[in-house]
């Protein structure tokens, strides 16, 4: 298993802040995995995401220590625009990501940037439109579609570039529950049918937890906990202390565990929770 991301002793301080945004980060993410990064606002999650895509230090001034390697090469060693061909980023604000005049132009923009031919563009356009269910919206301008639809467009536009590494920075924080589910549904299909490595920063745990192989907790510029999902949530005490609330069903079983009333795995979905509940009340 090759590691897609390898970060060693990485510290980053933005120019005008007193404390570093990231402090001594060590992280290794393997190809094909689905990783969730959680933690309170201000913990450094977005800065970490930007560091992996080269936006930091590319677009921001500051002081960097340590190394950030993506696909075996230091982020700063990539030429302009090279890293973006293999790493795709979806940001949290649907409004600010729409870079073109219509949905179709948006999906095509990235593909044109990387120099694909008309035929290749046509094929990928069809694939990505089907995957994200945007067929009816292709000719609509951004001001005629909802926030949830805009995020799906942003996701599709990034996927059209077929990045091997996909990073999503709070993709659903501005969306309502239904739109949120739709985004995660696309991620679920990607996980099962494609071989991207996916990193998702989220607050909405109930959608993230069922999909993530690995979870990372960040707080105060550091990585505090990193483990596969099931074992990660055994540390619910630490999580609650850091202001992270596990999904309701999982939290319930953790409480039972804590009070010595339950001794088994935690459910990662409501369905699993319901089944477990039936079992233990029998």
């Amino acid at each position: 298993m090759t590691s897609v991301i390898e970060i060693k002793d990485y510290t980053w301080k933005y120019l005008h802040t007193k404390a570093p945004a990231l402090n001594g980060i060590n992280l290794m993410i393997e190809e094909g995995s689905f990783v969730g990064i959680i933690g309170p606002n201000g913990a450094g999650k977005t800065t970490l995401a930007y560091s992996i895509d080269g936006l930091v230090p590319g677009q921001y001034n500051g002081i960097k220590k340590g190394t950030v390697n993506v696909f075996g090469k230091e982020v700063e060693a990539y030429g302009t625009g090279e890293l973006q061909q293999v790493v795709g980023v979806v940001f949290s604000d649907p409004e600010a990501q729409f870079t073109a005049m219509t949905v179709e132009d948006e999906l095509v923009f990235g593909m044109e940037n990387i120099g694909l031919t008309i035929q290749e563009i046509r094929e990928r356009l069809e694939w990505v439109t089907e995957l994200t269910g945007l067929g009816d919206l292709l000719l609509k301008p951004p001001y005629e579609i909802s926030g949830g639809q805009k995020q799906r467009v942003a996701l599709a536009a990034v996927l059209a570039m077929k990045p091997k590494l996909l990073i999503l920075d709070e993709p659903t924080s501005m969306l309502d529950p239904v739109s949120r589910k739709k985004i995660f549904e696309v991620l679920r299909i990607l996980k099962t049918e494609e071989d991207n490595t996916i990193v998702v920063i989220e607050h909405s745990l109930e959608n993230l937890v069922p999909l993530a192989d690995q979870m990372i907790l960040m707080s105060d510029s550091e990585i505090i906990l990193q483990d596969n999902t099931s074992d990660f949530f055994k540390e619910s005490g630490l999580l609650l202390e850091k202001g992270v609330h596990p999904p309701g069903a999982l939290h319930f079983f953790h409480e039972l565990s804590r009070q010595g009333l339950y001794d088994g795995d935690y459910p990662l979905t409501v369905e699993q929770g319901k089944n477990l509940l039936r079992q233990i009340t029998q």
Binding site: P40, D176, F252, L277
Partner: protein, 278 residues
């Protein structure tokens, strides 16, 4: 039990936008002083439109709304603003001034109070929202989102409306920040007597803080009642495309297990579990 009065009466309210879209149909309900209501629904269900009708920003196309004896169709802007305050979702849309202090003073100055009164209200509002004093002279643009939201709320509080409507208080915030702002609103409601209406689709928060839920879908009210009650109406909630919090769903999983379907918190469920285990 004290007999609280009806503060807002909504009678057969209908609202259509100039281009013809019907955003509200046959809306009827009352708001009693001191309530803590969550107005929930999908984006596009009409909840934002409804709340803007409540404070007079939009005038009803049919039916009417009476706030504290004043019909919103007849009330002037200044009259309405003293009764119902509205905090917008994005604080950036409503920060006009160069310092936080002036920002909070903007409202009271608009309703033409004396400078002494203005000073009194601003100081009071800023203390209630807990803004650190050294930030009073700072430009709101440079504050964090949470603090900007507080300044926005303070600027509405300074107008001393009985009812405060807050649009999406927790969107984009982490759990800790969400709980902080909600605790603050709870305090406003319980300690200071304001009627609080939050517009949201964050169901766990609704379960924790709101005593009454009005659920909307497709321009209509689908359900209106105490939180626990509304959360048990699974079929109606389905129409709003919203699901109750996970813990409530868990409790409703199998009625034969004996859990109260209106459970709102993990602690409640654990207690019931222990009770049933005996």
């Amino acid at each position: 039990m004290t007999d609280k009065s009806v503060y807002i009466q909504v009678n057969d309210l209908g609202f259509s936008y100039p281009d013809g879209t019907e955003a509200l149909k046959e809306i009827n309900f009352e708001v009693i002083e001191g309530e803590f209501i969550a107005l929930i629904g999908q984006n596009g269900s009409g909840k934002t439109t409804l709340s803007k009708c409540l404070n007079g920003l939009y005038k009803p196309t049919s039916g009417d709304i009476v706030v504290d004896g004043l019909n919103t169709k007849e009330g002037t802007i200044v009259q309405m603003v003293k009764r119902v305050g509205y905090v917008f979702q994005n604080p950036d849309h409503q920060l006009f001034n160069n310092t936080c202090w002036d920002e909070v003073a903007y409202g009271p100055r608009n309703i033409e109070l004396s400078e002494d009164e203005v000073k009194e209200r601003v100081d009071e509002a800023l203390i209630v929202v807990g803004l650190p004093e050294h930030l009073y002279g700072e430009h709101p643009f440079f504050l964090s989102k949470g603090l900007r939201q507080r300044v926005a709320i303070a600027s509405i509080l300074a107008l001393r409306p009985k009812v405060i409507i807050v649009d999406e208080p927790t969107t984009g915030q982490d759990i800790k920040q969400s709980l902080e702002i909600m605790d603050f609103l709870k305090n406003l409601n319980e300690e200071h007597g304001h009627t609080v209406i939050i517009i949201t689709h964050d169901m766990p928060i609704v379960g924790l803080y709101a005593r009454r839920v009005i659920a909307m879908a497709q321009a209509r009210i689908m359900a209106d009642g105490p939180t626990r009650e509304v959360f048990t109406k699974a079929d109606i909630l389905e129409k709003t495309f919203l699901a109750p919090p996970q813990i409530t769903q868990l409790a409703q999983a199998d009625p034969s297990l004996g859990f109260d379907p209106g459970i709102l918190t993990v602690d409640e469920m654990v207690e019931q579990f222990k009770g049933l285990a005996k």
